[in-house]
Symmetry: C2
Subunit: 298 residues, 2 copies
Amino acid sequence: MGKADWIAADWGAKHLRLWAMRDADVVAARESDQGAADLTQDQFAQVLAQETADWRAGDWVEAPVVACGEVGGRQGWVEAPYSLVPTKAQGPLIQVRGQRVWIACGMRQEDPSDVMRGEETQIAGLLAARPKFDGVVCLLGAQSKWARISAEELCHFQSFMTAELYAFLTQQSALAPSLATQSEALDEVAFDRAVEEALAQPHRAYGRLFQLRAGELLGAMTAKAAASRLSGLLIGWELASAKPYWLGEEVVLIGAPEQMRRYARALTAQGVTTREADAQAVMLAGLHRAWKSLASTA
Amino acid sequence: MGKADWIAADWGAKHLRLWAMRDADVVAARESDQGAADLTQDQFAQVLAQETADWRAGDWVEAPVVACGEVGGRQGWVEAPYSLVPTKAQGPLIQVRGQRVWIACGMRQEDPSDVMRGEETQIAGLLAARPKFDGVVCLLGAQSKWARISAEELCHFQSFMTAELYAFLTQQSALAPSLATQSEALDEVAFDRAVEEALAQPHRAYGRLFQLRAGELLGAMTAKAAASRLSGLLIGWELASAKPYWLGEEVVLIGAPEQMRRYARALTAQGVTTREADAQAVMLAGLHRAWKSLASTA
């Protein structure tokens, strides 16, 4: 491996992704499941040292680390304060005492209460490529975040628990034995109809969850259709609640390919134009921008 | 322990409750976490033999067992078929081959698809005490079931996943660190307001879940208020969807005391009169009725 200038870290509650970087280019990458939620405060330095030990050879032993995500949360390594929206998506960086490690600040909103850590760096990465972007971004992770960007600022945002609920319901709940999620193949008819139902009658969606178990048990639907229908009900439910964000707007989706495909499908059916941005690319662009701001003030 | 005539078993997905009975009276009781969901088909006989070994002494070694719940499900001991509603809540009993064990049939509904196992026996127990009951019952367990009873029949019903979702969200989800559930003390103001909000704007309730995490993190609400608010949002959401069941009706609640208290509080605020029935008492009354039907045909 060649010389690198700095190390980028996406350190969320449940994952750690590291990239050895030369300016904006990736020299090496690795990931682990040592998320911030599972570490005590004194374990962060050790985990980082272990994971980057073989990278820290030769003449870049002192390469700084620029991180974002729950590593800066209340249960993280160092609490990096939230910036209050509306504000620039790229807030200040907080240095970990005694370490060449800097952590990006998260964003908070007062009314209604909301917070993000990590997604602000992806938004900053999107704005690095498109400085004049004015519109709506939907960031898809364990929680999805809808954000309005205008005049180079993050104006307001709202979080939904869709992917986390989907994972629980398909893996652990009473529905699980009736849902087939091994294959990513979507039953598109079942998905589309469920999105439509949840959007049209969101007050009834809650009572439709257990029908997936019963419908599959009684032979009224396949386990594949039941899983697709659950996905559609949850995404439709989210869209019903997030309507002020997407109605009449073009939406930029940032997430994993299969997640983006489903949201794009649901939004397109509502007449909304979507664009997709690569989640890792915007994350790295945001961390790169943070690293450059650090280099320019150092 | 004196002589008993029969053994009553409430054998659900996650629990096994056993009672040694002399006619309608409890002689001894025990419970374990050996639920039907965690057993393979060949383990049921062994578990039952072990759990009742010390009861099966003297002259009632042959006491029959009458059971209900997921023990009769597809992943249970023997699949007891569902009876199709509308029908009498007490369906036929299915004998386990080579055992003096009988399992109650569950109930199914075709449109919309729904199923129950165990709750039909509680309804039968309620009807044993009140044969002319005509009205609405809400049975509170991991899933809650709303059921309409008329002319001594179970007419139709609907299941909700409220308690299961509440357990996941408070114990495992991203909200968990911000929710205080150690004490059962309810923040009544936060609960009442959340019920009201979810009932008035059920399409917005979905987007309010993550606000509980953010609100507590930002100091806008206590962890106790956040947990009470979550409980209120979920129960309010269920009530919004189940409105055709309770509007203008008197509702009989069957469940654990704290669950019944919260549903009664939410329904009372909507002008609904509620009555509470002891969950174990109606379960035993239903199993007793099943045992008597068995004895009369034997």
